[in-house]
Symmetry: C2
Subunit: 261 residues, 2 copies
């Protein structure tokens, strides 16, 4: 059996009880932290909390050489751990399909995601979000400014009155940089202010899932000058606002009320 | 302090460890189950698991008469429990804003949502979903068939190549019916087959978050004739499919491969 367990958004207690129980019941625990990391817990914290060894794999160890993980899942119970929910992008679908092809049962234990938390913390309704997008570091997309596809997504959503969740680039163990790099919401707001619209309303979500999670709504130009502290950050570009959403941004995110008229 | 704790998708073990700890630390625990219910646990199960009394409130007891909840949060630590993530639609934003206005600190403990699970279980990428929609019971929207707004949402998403998550109507404690009523995915597929397009591909997600979660991809007309068992059900109407998404629907959801060419 191969069980994909999402670790959630922040630390060792962000996993569900069902996920914790799956880890406790497993013969071996694998993990990857190249797609995302828990900001509030490192591998040693997780190992101590779950009282188990966690074998961390890099991208090649999952995508090119999944054999050892599949062997463990074939001969016993293995869990595969990732931050957030394990399977919401296709990164690990391939591993799941390979397991199924070998006749190994698979199961997914869900966890909170940044996507849901962004809606939950801002008071913006989940069913009024359009397609999400990701803002890459300038050096990572090989051009200055903001890729046209990001602006296109925001504008296509706004034409339909919809909000846009903008994920911000994360580089973990990247060959071109030392250490990890997380794009800040200030940096993202600055890019969008310069290359799209400085007066547009943005909503920063910092450290979703953490005890000190913060939201702040203001024009992009204003957000660009502020410091939102430790990662992870997200940026939401609202479309049309219902009155409850407007109240939420004023009451929970310090939005200037006159800006939302 | 008023802490909104999401209970997640299925049973008493679908809450996060952080959520469980918040419940344990609270002086009083309130809950509502009129927006959604845990299919795998009732209030007695939750009370036994958390070893606490849970005071269940109906809609009027939250929206018209929130005073007792706010009083408890002012004089001590109160938790407010709901299925899924508590705050992703605006239902409880009003309660949070009232608490903030009275100077009561609020906090949100996130949980897995149907939205994330739908993407996770089907292998359809989360950032390729457009706006979500809800298919109401025919009697609830006062007309036969499918509301034009539902079809408009699906088609506007498909024009941009995007998937649509279609929530299915839930009536809990509704004055016009006895017991609870959950629209099945078969019923939804039948409505969309008749009033929209019988040949369109649909993906049923049944019991997301439960150990026996099931996904099945087929033409709407085919899905309409199948039985997917106990609630909750969701229906996804895919847009364009990337090759990994296609592989996932064939490998994980029994999609007929020739349909996806």
């Amino acid at each position: 059996m191969l069980t994909f367990v999402g670790l959630g958004l922040y630390d060792e207690r962000s996993v569900t009880v069902a996920g914790r129980d799956a880890i406790a019941a497993a013969d071996r625990a694998f993990a990857e932290f190249y797609t995302s990391r828990l900001v509030g817990a490192d591998v040693a914290d997780l190992e101590a909390y779950h009282d188990t060894d966690i074998e961390v794999r890099d991208r090649a160890g999952v995508e090119q050489d999944p054999g050892p993980i599949l062997d463990a899942a074939e001969s016993g119970d293995a869990v595969f751990l990732t931050a957030g929910d394990t399977m919401i992008s296709t990164t690990h679908v391939d591993l799941r399909l390979r397991a199924e092809e070998r006749g190994i049962d698979t199961r997914v234990v869900h966890a909170p995601t940044a996507e849901s938390a962004a809606s939950s913390l801002t008071g913006l309704q989940n069913y009024r979000f359009g397609k999400a997008t990701t803002l890459p570091f300038e050096w990572a997309h090989g051009a200055d400014g903001v890729p046209g596809s990001v602006v296109d997504t925001i504008e296509a959503n706004r034409e339909r009155g919809l909000h846009t969740l903008c994920y911000l680039d994360i580089k973990v163990d990247h060959p071109r940089i030392e250490g990890d790099e997380y794009m800040t919401a200030s940096h993202a707001a600055g890019l969008l202010a310069e290359h799209w619209n400085p007066d547009a309303l943005g909503v920063v979500v910092a450290r979703a899932g953490a005890p000190d999670a913060t939201v702040r709504a203001a024009p992009l130009e204003t957000l660009a000058a502020l410091d939102f502290g430790d990662p992870l950050h997200l940026l939401v570009l609202p479309g049309d606002l219902h009155h409850v959403e407007r109240d939420a941004l004023v009451g929970l995110a310090d939005a200037p009320a006159d800006l939302l008229e």
